[in-house]
Symmetry: C2
Subunit: 169 residues, 2 copies
Amino acid sequence: MPSKPSDVTMDAVYTKPGYLFRRMQQIAVSIFIEECREFDLTPVQYAALVAIRTHTGIDATRLSAVIAFDRSTLGSVIERLEAKGYVERKPSTDDKRVKLLYLTKAGAILLRNIMPFVDRAQARMLAPLKPADRKTLTALLSQLVDLNNEVSRVPLRAEDALEHLGKTG
Amino acid sequence: MPSKPSDVTMDAVYTKPGYLFRRMQQIAVSIFIEECREFDLTPVQYAALVAIRTHTGIDATRLSAVIAFDRSTLGSVIERLEAKGYVERKPSTDDKRVKLLYLTKAGAILLRNIMPFVDRAQARMLAPLKPADRKTLTALLSQLVDLNNEVSRVPLRAEDALEHLGKTG
DNA sequence: TATTGATTGACAGTATACTGTCAAATTGAT
DNA sequence: ATCAATTTGACAGTATACTGTCAATCAATA
């Protein structure tokens, strides 16, 4: 085996965090879909449902801040959840531009039922690591995501969600 | 501040690895695009270019295995790289189904020029962490991606790329 | 009150990322 | 040599994810 000049290896990709993040995201989604197959729900749809349950009567813009999810895409996600009967969109009386989001009974039931499957999926993602390493990785990732929050187009603004509580639907 | 029942928090999302992976991928892409703005190249396009340089004359299927990238999507990625003049697709004489991939001169130059910007992007992703933590995170992620390799639809098969060397273009 | 500026949801456009299908071509077994 | 199974690239369809634009609406202010 001849030795290779640096030009001929893939190190410029494989060892880099960007590649590892993309790969891990790919794997995480794959595991989620597999474990939750019978529910036909994507990770993002799941996150949206949890957020709508947590913040009943939230509007789409605030929801996008709460799950750090692009507003342009969120519309179609909500559409799909509405089509499946898990979410209702009601116009606000306060602000005619706004449509407020509510979980339907079916949505609430689905969320309760899917929880254990989601938990199993989350566990599987980290399963290959030793328990101590799982904690370390999760802690470091949490830090990193938090410290890099402002970088992405849609920074997480968890506190935004509380505002809607002061207003009438 | 009243205490909340577990139903009313977002813990079912925020603290979970799946959410952290998605968020981190989002941030990583954002940083990459920003740092490499003047080159108009996406992370995946970059990875494809590096792989084609590393494995001159590789075909699309093997390329997808080398960067763990879905074959269905790879077609359009290559199309865009071809349109930009960074890649050439030549039919194989051995196998009439196959189209072999080559970096153009412009592609090689681009790759050389973009390298420092990619490095800066990669560094920025981990910058908020202490140096020791960066190493720890990268090491754990590498392990996890490797150990979960088979889970995703397109497992990384770095060794696949070597096969084309034994054949004539 | 009239106007300016900001917000909201919708949309068009591009780029991943996956599932599944298909025809053409190749390979392997008989 | 022929037929079956596989491989390859292409495509259709769905679902994120981003940039940018737009009209309707609302809020702030002159």
